[in-house]
Amino acid sequence: MSEKTGSVLVVGGGIAGVQTALDLAESGFKVYLAERKPSIGGVMAQLDKTFPTNDCSMCILSPKLVEAARHPMISMMTLTEVMAVEGEAGDFTVTMKKHPRYVREDRCVGCGLCAEKCPSKAPSEYEVGMVNRKAIFVPYAQAVPMKYSIDANKCLWLTKQRCGNCKKVCPADAVDYEQKEVIEKLNVGSVVVAPGFEAFDPRVKREYGYGDFKNVVTSLEFERILSATGPYQGHVVRPTDHKTPKKIAFIQCVGSRDEKVGNPYCSSVCCMYALKQANIAQEHTSGLESHIFFMDIRAFGKEFEDYRARAETEYGIKMYRGTRVASVDEDPETKDLTLRYSVGTDISEQKFDMVILSVGLEPPASAKDLSDRLGIKLNPYGFCQTGIYSPLETTRPGIYVSGAFSSPKDIPTTVAEASGAASKAGKHVYENRIQIDEVVKEIPETDVKGQEPRIGVFVCDCGINIRGTVDVPSVVEYAKTLPNVVFAEENKYTCSADSQELIKKKIKEHNLNRVVVASCTPRTHEALFQSTIKEAGLNMYLFEMANIRDQCSWIHMHEPEKATAKSKDLVRMAVAKSRFLEPLTKSKLGVTHSAIVVGGGLAGMTSAMDITAQGFHVDLIERSNDLGGRLAKLYTAEDGVSPRKYMNDLIERVRSNDKITVYMNSELEDVAGFVGNYKVKVKTPEGQKELDTGAIVVAVGGQEYTPKEYMYGKEKNVITANELEEKLSHGALNAKKVAFIQCVGSRNKEVPYCSRVCCSKALKNAIEIKKKSPSTEVFIFHKDIRSYGFRELLYKQAGELGVKFVRFPENKDPELSKVGEHLQLVADDVVLGEKIMFRPDLLVLSTGTRPNPDNEHLAKMVKVPLSKDGYFLEAHMKLRPVDFATNGVYLAGIAHWPKFIDETIAQASGAASRAMTIISKEFLETQGIIAAVNDMVCDGCGVCEPVCEYRAITIVGSDAKDPSKLKAVVNEGLCMGCGTCVAACPSGALEQKGFKTNQILAQIDASLEGGAK
């Protein structure tokens, strides 16, 4: 098969693989998305909620899965493994093995009759074995693709040639016992590997009794217990007696930070997920008490520390800091559990109804085989080998990695990496990019003009998110009584893949020409439903949503009757508006195929290099005199290379790149235009420059906090961590006693957040000091040591080299005084329960990171928000970590949040990838929701013209013969569809499509009818 398209293979269909696939597809590449399991979704599909926003995991994931499944540039290959990769970057031949599904995907409609009649059962992998599935099954109710598969080990026909029920009952004749393995060869330019992780199996930790004591569960099992779709429908109950527990305990670091089980690293996510599970469990169960036993609480991410504080103060979760649990014992009668644990130097005991083991993340069992087949190396812990300066690169050129396969990490970091891997993979195939409209056939649109509205209403249970409060069946019955509604029904998840098929089917069956979905918020789900109805031949604007979850069931949880009545009102309002909806058309606008990157530090330069690697031009704007940002001030090596050295090389590569124009001492002055077509004014030393660009990457970094504490600036032997690195670069220190104080300017009243990097940086430098001068005494004074991931090994190494750690209380900082010529540090050691005194020759302050004080100015210019801490605020904290709500503007580096070199590089590549999804396109479509002038009514008074912020309206002559006759004209490319002009128009000549006056008035009237009972 000789294809001219650039193709990429993505291995793994979890959130990482799906995001990589979507980015590549949107950038014009053909993607093969291979998943070993029968469906995509990975571990994220099993989660109930996600921290720190408590978003429903399935709700935010599902639209992405559906988008990947329906994307014309993505070939989804389920039950498929990579067997071999031959060739080299740019031209790989990949051998794939597709395992038999025994169900024909082209025929299965996912009706489930087969599973109903199947007599053979097996533990459900999705439910972590807590409930059974059948031998013919879908992994979970919203699985993508919604196609059944047969477990060959359990199927009676395949094992013993008996039964055959499924084949008999299948209405679509989809069951095919004769299917065999299929070997297929693909030609791809690059590969991205994202097989994810596996949860640690705590059976080897015999002391915790998992496996023997049924009320000891893993965190993944507890996640399912919390889920509305889980084994107990979201009710927190004990597995032994299904009684509601009163007191539960979480044991942290099970299978993490544990040499005995071979996992010396920190799994990075368990502290936060335990806090989340404790919060959610208490929300589900009145009177429940949660206790968390941990060593350090690692709340290092954006808004994490707030979340932790709320868990303690608002939810009253009891925290046992610096505590290792020695054992768990079961009372054989009551099945209650007794924990033995150390408190300082004493041993304590406490009884619990249920124990949750916060299990760590391990490489997938397939990692060894997979790495052999791909020809890539694993690190000593079995994860994919990467480097600090090459976080997305495996050891084989052309093969990239993203997600938890390279190190344990949370969802946003994974998603940013996934985009980053797409950028890297794209550079091998970019010359064979194709435009999406070359592969998509236009679906002919049904003409609904002049038709009486025929409205279909789909009401979502959202598991129990809506149904737990709102009487959904009565809302459905009510909807049926509304004018022009010809069909209404209830769905468990209206957003799932099978529901999309159902909506399309119902549109055809009932000849629907308007669709209303009552579920969550249009902000996240409108686009999904719009493309569904588009596939059924309806204009996508013949759609309306009623937000009965976020703005009803969730905010009226204790008033089910009123929430039900309100849901009916909201449905009535949506139906009323939908009766007046009209089909809208979009036009196509050209795109400027270049990007502007603001900020010449590590993030900005990495983004710029990635974008030029795919052939696009970049204008790099740096306001200072130097490229390099904060990294140029760091000296102590990581991965054997000094950051400053890496930075000097990078600056050289940027300087010599003929696709990058660098503007030094320059700043943005004005940003006009819109996604794909920005016009940016830049103030340069040579005067103002006007640049056209398709996308903007914000990578302006942050600042190091300048301490006011600890006599800094007054005592020459009190220095910051950065000053220490500079000193160390000149050789051994002239100090016999060194102390580090952590959290200087972090985790205090003024700045409550954790600056993420300071702990590991202190460890790195403490090790450097010890290496250079083993006899130097080094003390680190800290609240928690937050060396997550593989940086935990720095903690271990520092300890082995004799670095001493003193944990001081959260609310009581060490005190520094001067005794004669000596600095004297006194702190409460919470582990020993006594005061510690130390007289350092050199005191190093681990200073926190601050956002740039003038971020607000830039934020306003590019029209994006800042977080309450002053960092740039992304579009969605979990699944859109490098996007802004404003299309065409992206985010990377410390401007987003403090982070390490590897994290910054990965995120910067991610921002580059997102920008390239825009600038690689030949054209973008305008929005349908824009202003329109009714020429018959407009008399050209001109009130609207100055009202428009985008200068999209001009007043022109309307009659060639009579120059006094004027009218308003709207430029569709410039109009952003705010509707400001419409409200200003005194004659009613202006209308906002999609928000027309009659549509909104219908909503107002409907809201006040009060007809619903």
């Binding site: 009177g287 204790h558 912020e949 569809g977 928000f995």
Partner: protein
């Protein structure tokens, strides 16, 4: 719920038979509607007697909409938009501010209590402010009593 958490606490249910005003709330798509969603995501509980109408910008709220709402029996109308200088459409909220101020004068001149119409800024990160705004406006309108137009 066991934990002391004011924001999540069960709201005081309206006493049986107690009069509840009907409130219409216009929310701009980018800030206030997102703030209302965030209130939901954060499970912040509040009175049920308001109905949200989404517009892309608060500046789409034509004075006609407000008058129609009152004429059709709304007891109070809230218009919520992005904070000054945060408008997704640059300066739409400034126009809203002027229009609402003018409209309040107009309402007063016609003998209609202008406190039944309120403009407030709620950002995408202010779920708690959305909750507070709803609660407070509800109390204000409760004190004002039913819309006099509905009593005739």
């Amino acid at each position: 719920m066991s934990a002391p958490q004011a924001a999540h606490a069960e709201p005081k249910a309206a006493a049986e038979g107690e009069w509840e005003p009907k409130l219409i709330v216009f929310c701009c798509n980018w800030c206030s509607y997102a703030g209302a969603d965030l209130a939901g995501v954060s499970r912040l509980q509040m009175p049920t007697n308001f109905r949200v109408i989404r517009t892309m910008c608060s500046a789409r709220v034509d004075p006609e909409f407000v008058l129609r709402a009152f004429a059709s029996g709304a007891d109070g109308v809230l218009v919520l938009g992005c904070h000054p200088a945060d408008c997704h459409y640059i300066g739409g909220n400034y126009r809203t501010r002027r229009r609402i101020a003018l409209l309040r004068v107009l309402l007063e001149q016609y003998g209609f209590n202008p406190d039944r119409l309120k403009l407030e800024w709620v950002s995408a990160s202010e779920g708690a402010k959305f909750q507070k705004t709803i609660k407070e406006f509800n109390e204000t309108v409760k004190e004002l009593g039913p819309n006099p137009l509905t009593e005739e």
